[in-house]
Amino acid sequence: MRGVNLEVGDREIHSIIGANGAGKSTLAYTLMGLQGYEHEEGSLIFNGEDVTKLSITERARKGITLAWQEPARFEGLRVRDYLAIGAKANGGITEEGLKEALRKVDLKPEKYLDREVGEALSGGERKRIELASIITMKPKLAILDEPDSGIDVVSLKEIVALIRTLKENGSSVLVITHREEIAAASDKASLMCEGSILRSGDPLEISEFFKNRCIPCDNRVSPPKAA
């Protein structure tokens, strides 16, 4: 990545749009401080504090978290225990809180709470559990890497509602997406190309720009016709 200047406001939903390979997930991993995605230059300021050198755990305890595009499997770990981990920093969670988190991602608590995260759940189900774990954590900044992938179109509305709920609960949300519906629900959007932020602004304008200017330009998205 280079030339990435990005500001996410308090309780702002900010979409990152861009073609495959533009660096959107790399940006998410860098913000979370994952191994192999450390800063070489530049800085990350969170709530006025430089967190550039902090570890993943330290960033999480400051209130930053990440929902992966392809969630981990966690053999043997029950859904209730997974959801409770994120809530520890906030003084724990009640049984009703766990159930409510599952309901918000359209999963029946009585069916899922005592199942294993990795136990033959579909990709969509694991994705919803990943999002539920963000709800129980109540982060200040939730980074969602393509929360819509692996989830059917009908459920897009629920994802949008979930993102809004996170905002209402006090979180800023940085959401990486290809979906216009999610971008449209954002307060602001930024367009990434080849590791840089091309422009930031009104989500509908950014989305239109991406559709009309980027997609025809980018052969990774729209391969050129053979001569």
Binding site: M32, I56, T57, A60, F74, E75, G76, I85, G86, M137
Partner: protein, 320 residues
Amino acid sequence: MTQITVNTLSSEIENMDAAYSAAGGDAAVLHKHELASLVVSGNKVLNANGTEGIVLERQETEHGVDIKMTIKKGYKIPLPVHLCFGLIPEDGLQEIKMNFVAEEDSAVELIAHCTFPNAVKVIHRMDAQMLIGKNASLKYTETHFHGPHGGIQVIPKAHVRIEEGGSYYTNFSLISGRVGYLEFDYSVDAEKDAICEMVTKVYGKKDDKIKILEKISLNGENARSVIKSRLAITDNAESEFRGITEGHAPRARGHVDCMEVIQGNARAEAVPIVRVDNPLAKVTHEAAIGCVDKKEVETLMARGLEEDDAIDVIVKGMLA
């Protein structure tokens, strides 16, 4: 109804209750007359309580106890039978010989805790012969606790025969405390329509040594089996796993699944072996040895756990 109450020193009972609890059991179940139970400390039977449908015979020997347990034909024992074997002193030898028979159409669940909380120089041997009769079912859960010192050799050996339509589920778990030296050797012969599932979960630390040999011979038509092994080893621990499944009959189906997580200077070896001599049988296997999954660790760190705590959660989840 067979009910035998053996008078013995109350302090021994208290010690075994404490040891049973240390192994993860609820000692109260050992004193409920409506539940069948057997408690053996060293070579003494502290408690032997049968219920209707169970014939329990025991004979104290120089270093242990010979046990014969029979589940009578047609009896479905509604509540689990609790077994506790252990040795309280720091050193000693315990040899358990068990002859278990589940007669035709019977069903029972055995919950065993083997506990050696103070072991510094202890040897525990178990030699079991199990017969699961026609359409009978045995579920056998065995949890071990060997204390913090690692000064123990545990050598359980069993041969199980499952007759037509019978089923055998076993879950061996040694997760808390040290392992010491474990040499686990179970073999199963499965006849027509028999079902067998064997699960072992062990967490080795420091200089623990773990050897697991599990063998299932699918001798009868349509016999089915799974061997599932989950091992985690850290520090300088070593593990060897051999999971053998043989398919000898039409439509026999078997699978061997071994996953080992290693950390530190630990060394692991996993060898799944499949042998098939019937063209209509099918046996598959998978084995993986590696470090803890990086994405799982980073996910839990992104929820606020320190790296070591994240690894602990993942390993315990895998062994749960």
